[in-house]
Symmetry: C2
Subunit: 509 residues, 2 copies
Amino acid sequence: MSFNALLARRAGIDTYQQPVVYLRSDCDVCKAEGFQSQAQVEVTSDGRHLLAVLHQVSGNWLRNDEIALSESAWNLMGASEGDELVVRHPPVLDSLTHLRSKLHGERLHYAALRALMDDVSRGRVPDIHLASFVTMCAGDGLDLEETVALTRAMVDVGERLDWGMSPVVDKHCIGGLPGNRTTLIVVPIVAACGVVMPKTSSRAITSAAGTADVMETLAPVDLDLAAMRRVVERECGCIVWGNAMRLSPADDMLIRVERPLSIDSEGLMVASILSKKAAMGSQRVLIDIPLGVLTKVRSPAAADRLSRGLVSVGAALGLQVQTVFTDGSQPVGRGVGPALEAMDVMAVLERRADAPQDLRDRALLLAGLILEMSGKAAPERGNLMAREVLDDGRALAKFIAICEAQGGLRVPPRAAHVRSVRAPVDGMVSAIDTRLVARTAKLAGAPRDPAAGASMHVRVSDRVKRDDPLYTLHAQSLGALQYALSFVHSQLPIVRIDAGVGMASVTAP
Amino acid sequence: MSFNALLARRAGIDTYQQPVVYLRSDCDVCKAEGFQSQAQVEVTSDGRHLLAVLHQVSGNWLRNDEIALSESAWNLMGASEGDELVVRHPPVLDSLTHLRSKLHGERLHYAALRALMDDVSRGRVPDIHLASFVTMCAGDGLDLEETVALTRAMVDVGERLDWGMSPVVDKHCIGGLPGNRTTLIVVPIVAACGVVMPKTSSRAITSAAGTADVMETLAPVDLDLAAMRRVVERECGCIVWGNAMRLSPADDMLIRVERPLSIDSEGLMVASILSKKAAMGSQRVLIDIPLGVLTKVRSPAAADRLSRGLVSVGAALGLQVQTVFTDGSQPVGRGVGPALEAMDVMAVLERRADAPQDLRDRALLLAGLILEMSGKAAPERGNLMAREVLDDGRALAKFIAICEAQGGLRVPPRAAHVRSVRAPVDGMVSAIDTRLVARTAKLAGAPRDPAAGASMHVRVSDRVKRDDPLYTLHAQSLGALQYALSFVHSQLPIVRIDAGVGMASVTAP
């Protein structure tokens, strides 16, 4: 074996996107290189190479001549059991010198950000360095020019799609709001009008369902780029999972650190959103900003500032961006969970009498604005055009056609077990905690079990009587149902009922 | 078992000071809480609690009802195999809000820094948040007042010693220089003059030997506080390992992140050094700042700025601080490695003819300055007093007495295998790479094998002939010796020889 070489072994440990390798502390390589735990090491083999964090093992599950790799390290390295891997001190990353110059008050230019984002996207930059960068960008740490340069750099280190058609429109919603599944209605309306809308969506990260999870209960979403192109060329639109596209890969790495740091950086948020859209080949983008006490953007002033940043940076990148502020105070529609949300969407598309009106209204608002941005509808006429397309069944037909093109329309599954939670008193619904709704739906099994989740029977300001059902939990196993129920009973109520209001008319003089 | 409880298991994985727990991704707790890998989780059991990073396991070494703990998590938790541990989302740390206000331009005050350092010292603050804090402190990110407040906060969250004697003196050296083992000579000189000098030292972290490692080849160093007090009360001085004292524990956590980030923060460096000294109960502190191309402080201007910061912050904390700039261009003495350095120290104390003059001179310089600071020697008379104490044998007698008081004088071990590296040409020694010397000594086994290391036979400007020995490698096994030699041959030379100089006088007209 060559100097510093060890035999590869899959550790079966998931460290998310941070690659970790495991070596015995008493192995020759650790002794020779003087590695400490948490050291950054370079692993190479036949031209492949990887930067990883070292964790030293004293237990007996690893031999002295072995190196175990975490799942992300294993995949990034493309390793096989028994491969000879060489472990060394990593080369000094030139891009990190740019971090230091930013610290010393210099502004970051495109070349520096490009080098940095290149290393970030390849997983070469350790988390603590990412955290340092995010800290420098905090608040208004990036000015407009730097934000433009960062967005460009993030686009340029990944793939960028070109549809050969114009205009290509897109939408984005900032911060999750349970049940806000407008995309599945907006895309078929817009596409039915002949406007190109190739939509990539994400799966749930911390929520009960991502748009891709919901769509997957109705049609396949795991399409590669060639398949996605065929769908869009035939139907003008698609709703697929964006993961396979490698669009703005640096953004994914930064988000991993931004989320736990919970440092707000307007520059990073703008760069994150717009880099994905630019990489996707979008030209006109509508951005939905729900405002509420538990949403990402909580005040009209903050929404306004963010909106101006999005529009300016978009313009610099050749993207026409428009924003719309919507109500983020309670869940949208009824269902929270992949299949339950899909049923809400189908009810709207099928124009059923019991379709949730709020989901329909929001989808028409967004579709109308996109039709106006695309030039298909005259100013102020988009909403009407969208309503016609929805009401005459063209949107439903287009949605079915898109599903068929993506691999075939499916019927969303139904959960094996349901249980309703009822009002403990008469009164008026004063608030619904959107975070607890999402958490409960997850405990019931969403999005892993697509049929699981919660369906809401009330909205804020509804009057309820004692024992009226407030919401119903859906689960695939009795265990999961019990688990979600025990959580519900251990927390503040998800649906808050103001009993005083009901009394007021009785007790008032 | 209670809600979210799992059975403890020791993973035998060393993640340095970052506690990590391992759960199966398909266990009930992960599903229920919606944990992702790299999530911060709180682990509790019978009032004990711990914050740790979660790594999810898909391999079959862990069961669904088990939680495995990394070494640091295991020790911090004081866990035993099979303990029932409950895993939850961690509480929101109030202290982190202070990080955000600093980001928004507010200055940090004592109360905020105290709360933050308290959480830091208890291991509650994840690495990426530490990295964010270090980034905010970068360069001159902390002003003088903030540095004073931070230093106080770091002292106040740990133990603080009070010797009931005055003055208590101390010394510190910034940045390692191989062989610079003056402490073992300075302490007995100063203590022999009746000045109290309770010295705690560190073991090697990245170097071939720490002062504690060197002292350990001559006497026990792993004393608890009570034992240390007895030594100091009897002998006026001691040289012990500082680890058990829990002095400025937050500093250790910050250093773990500062080192890989390699962000220079003058405020953090000053707070780090002075918090340890203040916690130690020191009153007058001499700080040795070696200047060289490979040392931590590389220019007289930087040393000057740092020096002013140390003196001002020290004054605010009631510490009298003085700095001295020394030559950091080559190793001090001959030995590099615990026992080899101990032999240099003993040669100086025993006034042997072959004692390394540079080590003797440096020790006399520092001891003289400390004697002046303590008031024991008149200004400009310290060096003379130190020399008298060294030359008449009082320093040796005091050193032996200190060693006896610490548990008994020992004879440093000698290595089983030695091999000299010889000059390839005639010429003059133009440079010695201090970093490569340290690395080679470590490959030979230092400081794990106390007898291992390197001994230098030449100094910069020495003339050598071809085949003269330049340095000798010492190792306990032939394998380690071969390993260090193969490293030596794979690198640029440790000792650079300028052959042209030897020629010059011959070829000059």
